[in-house]
């Protein structure tokens, strides 16, 4: 299942307590998954500013994965609820931003769900791979240079 090619590029914003630890568990269980995801560790999904996601697309990501503790299990009591609310709002703006909704995936993966982490990563990688590269923002930086 190993994909030699580094495309697509996927950025994952994960919380330290559940998903990051779940990914650690996938490692200790020696489960294999596709190597396209690059993880950015945050203390909590509540820390995720929707701008991070836009920024990732701007910088060339083909897909963005957001994952944290299951509702009710947040290490910080309620951070993931805030993340979920923001997600509901942000989700509606995607179309306006020219980003296909399917390039963004939101999931709950707990510290004990190493297998689920692998499944989520593989499924999302396949989905983004099928979509092909994200090109809408390719020229943003160039335009800025020309205009500026």
């Amino acid at each position: 299942m190993e994909n030699k090619n580094q495309d697509p590029k996927i950025v994952a914003f994960v919380c330290n307590w559940c998903t990051y630890t779940g990914a650690d568990l996938a490692g200790t269980s020696r489960l294999k998954y596709q190597p396209n995801v690059r993880m950015i560790k945050l203390p909590c999904t509540g820390r995720i500013d929707p701008v991070f996601i836009i920024k990732a697309f701007e910088k060339g990501a083909d897909g963005v994965l957001v994952s944290g503790c299951h509702p009710g299990d947040c290490h910080y009591n309620a951070g993931n609820y805030h993340a979920r609310r923001r997600w509901i709002m942000f989700h509606k703006l995607l179309d306006y931003l020219g980003i296909d909704e399917s390039r963004l995936h939101f999931s709950w993966v707990s510290a004990s769900e190493g297998k689920k982490f692998v499944d989520v990563v593989n499924a999302f990688t396949n989905k983004v791979k099928a979509k092909g590269p994200f090109k809408k923002y390719e020229n943003i930086n160039k335009e800025f240079v020309i205009n500026g």
Partner: protein, 666 residues
């Protein structure tokens, strides 16, 4: 900034799939990186010395270590860096083991990914600020949740060391499942005889505040500084007046309607009751579900006969708050009841064994009650249906355990031993009786454990049959047990008088709810999860909350007691100093930018945002801004994401740092 990069091979764990030399070479070309090496074991003493030496020789002021997960060795490396004189928060870890070498096979791909992760860490460390740990005071009081043997042991250990303990038990008495047991393996000493003195010790201990019939309602705060709200449920009996004489229970007209929880539904109890005669405290409780007074107000016999006027029908639940420094969770287990597949459950059930349908098909705890001298039959073996002495008993192990298709995939660990004990106890009393045990494997690791099982087989003549049972049905007052002897390769049929099922140990049904209340992780079965399975087995990932006994995983009495003592020791380590160091990754407000909208205050789960008034030099009021209470802030960063002007930032995870990481990705 001068950054050093250190890539660890972790023996072969990383080196096998990641070309560490290539990673360190590539890292050498990253901006600001002045030094980049790889080494076999970076966490070892010589490995740490490599880092320290490089810091000294090259005046490094930033370090990136490519190694195992930061959850494993971040502390180790930060300490090494600090020893060499660099602020520990200027050290970042790239997770090359759990997130790279262990999950990918292809060396090129893995090495590319490793280089990416190191690049992130370099970009992040460039923007890290030198931070100082925060000092907070410690409340030297322990809350123990659960009054079974684990909770009792933990409470006594902490209290004997001179610290105060609050012990909360949800049942009317402490003692837990151990108080129900007849005799304990492998010594066959009487369970109550060794337990009850401990229960009394808890009750009389000057340092222990015992709250029975109480539940933890809310936990606020953090390590060393918890504020715990406890619901003391209404006993309807004034515990300051009651002497435990028992007149009320004797006169209570309701004797048959309520099943005795302590006797596992084999007997009945009165509406006002203590669970068992040796209960601690020996103060009864009124079961308002069955009590006639609470149904129609007609009876108040107990109130009439009470010489101390202790019956208090109007009593209501009471809320108590306690200041606590450490919490020990010891909520124990339940036995899996298998009468029928519960609706909408993943557990498929064992309808074929007729549990719940046939009175003489019982579970392990019911057998304990029958075998117990204080039980419904005073320790004589009589079967529940007709009181006759069973001449043939079949024991079935692994009912629900090690059975992925119908029950749970884990091993309940204690059943091999207690089944051997049950068969032995039975043979000791019914000499002409026959005992059969159906087993999958015998797992009797433990001191004197295997010898015990051998004794059951060789000296007491218990017949062990390796195989599963497919069905049990009643025929002419006998229970026909159909199974298979897999060693002989033949089907077996035994006409038993009684069947005992060693049903799986499961987490308390409300364990996940409690875990959410106190903020600790739990696994898919509802068992609480430790930080590290080998090196930190009694700590939960939430600071200051420790685990003891079967709420963590199935375990027997000696294991539970050992774990309880370990948890107690961990709590005492915390109390060893007056101040506690906390990670400085908390939110900080830029008062110049802050417009005082206080959205941050609304989203903060810890009430850590306060309102601060700014005055100019003349003392004129200028504006109100947010202020972070560093003692309360836990560093989740929700405020940072919410702030419209980005004037509140989470140190260590600032927007600038995260944008730098994103940019470094591509």
């Amino acid at each position: 900034m001068k950054i050093g990069v250190f890539i660890c091979h972790c023996g072969e764990n990383i080196g096998r799939t990641v070309d560490c030399a290539r990673v360190s070479k590539a890292a050498g070309f990253f901006p600001n990186v002045v030094h980049s090496v790889d080494y076999k074991y970076m966490c070892s003493d010589p490995g740490q010395n490599i880092i320290k030496q490089a810091i000294k020789d090259l005046q490094l002021d930033g370090v990136v270590v490519g190694s195992c997960s930061p959850h494993m060795h971040e502390k180790t490396f930060r300490k090494a860096v600090a020893d060499a004189g660099v602020n520990p928060f200027l050290c970042e870890i790239a997770n090359l083991r759990e997130h790279v070498s262990w999950v990918h096979d292809d060396m090129d791909v893995a090495t590319d990914k490793a280089i990416d992760l190191v690049r992130f860490a370099v970009e992040k460390v460039k923007r890290n600020a030198p931070l100082k740990t925060i000092q907070v005071p410690v409340t030297k009081r322990t809350l123990v949740i659960g009054g079974g043997i684990s909770g009792i042991q933990a409470a006594l250990d902490v209290a004997n060391a001179g610290y105060e303990v609050v012990l909360v038990e949800k049942e009317p008495s402490i003692g837990g499942h151990m108080s129900q047991l007849s005799e304990t393996f492998p010594t066959l000493d009487c369970s109550q005889c060794i337990l009850t003195p401990r229960m009394v010790e808890v009750y009389q201990h000057p340092k222990i505040k015992l709250l029975t019939y109480s539940e933890v309602e809310k936990v606020e705060g953090f390590i060393g500084n918890f504020k715990v709200t406890i619901r003391k449920k209404a006993r309807k009996v004034d515990d300051t007046k009651c002497t435990g004489c028992g007149d009320c229970m004797q006169k209570c007209p309701i004797k048959k309607k309520a099943l005795s929880e302590f006797d596992e539904n084999l007997t009945t109890r009165s509406a006002i009751y203590v669970p068992f005669p040796q209960a601690v405290p020996n103060i009864p409780v009124i079961d308002t579900e069955v009590c006639t007074y609470f149904k129609n107000g007609k009876c108040s016999m107990c109130k009439k006969v009470c010489g101390r006027d202790a019956i208090f029908f109007e009593q209501e639940d009471q809320m108590l708050t306690e200041e606590i420094g450490a919490i020990i969770v010891a909520t124990g287990y339940k036995l899996y009841t298998i009468d029928k597949k519960p609706k909408n459950s993943e557990i498929k059930g064992y309808g074929e064994y007729g549990y719940g349908k046939y009175k003489d098909v019982i579970d392990g705890l019911q057998f304990e009650r029958i075998a117990s001298a204080s039980g419904p039959t005073s320790g004589e073996f009589k079967r529940p249906s007709d009181g006759k002495e069973p001449k043939k008993i079949v024991f079935i192990q692994c009912v629900g355990s090690r059975d992925e298709s119908k029950g749970f995939s884990y091993c309940s660990k204690i059943c091999c031993m207690y089944t051997a004990k049950h068969a032995m106890l039975y043979k000791h009393k019914v000499h002409d009786g026959e005992a059969y045990v159906f087993y999958m494997d015998i797992r009797s690791g433990g001191k004197m454990y295997d010898e015990f099982v051998r004794r059951a087989i060789e000296e007491d003549g218990v017949k062990y049959i390796r195989g599963r049972v497919s069905r049990i049905y009643e025929e002419n007052g006998k229970y026909i047990v159909k199974g298979e002897d897999t060693l002989a390769g033949v089907p077996v049929e035994i006409d038993a008088d009684m069947v005992v099922l060693a049903t799986a140990m499961i987490a308390q049904p409300e364990a996940s709810k409690l875990a959410q209340t106190i903020g600790i992780p739990y696994d898919k079965y509802g068992y609480f999860v430790e930080v590290h399975p080998k090196l930190r087995p009694v700590e939960s990932s939430s600071g200051g909350i420790f685990l003891a006994g079967a709420c963590h995983s199935p375990r027997d009495i000696p294991d539970s007691v050992a774990m309880a003592s370990a948890a107690a020791a961990k709590a005492m380590v915390l109390f060893g100093s007056d101040m506690l160091e906390r990670e400085p990754t908390i939110a900080l407000v830029n008062e110049n930018l802050c417009a005082g909208c206080f959205y941050c205050k609304k989203v903060c789960a810890y009430n850590a945002i306060e309102v601060k008034q700014i005055f100019d030099r003349q003392g004129n009021f200028v504006k109100e801004v947010a202020y972070v209470n560093s003692g309360l802030c836990q560093g989740c960063g929700t405020c940072n994401a919410t702030c419209p002007s980005k004037s509140i930032e989470l140190i260590g995870y600032t927007d600038e740092q995260i944008y730098a990481e994103i940019a470094a990705l591509m």
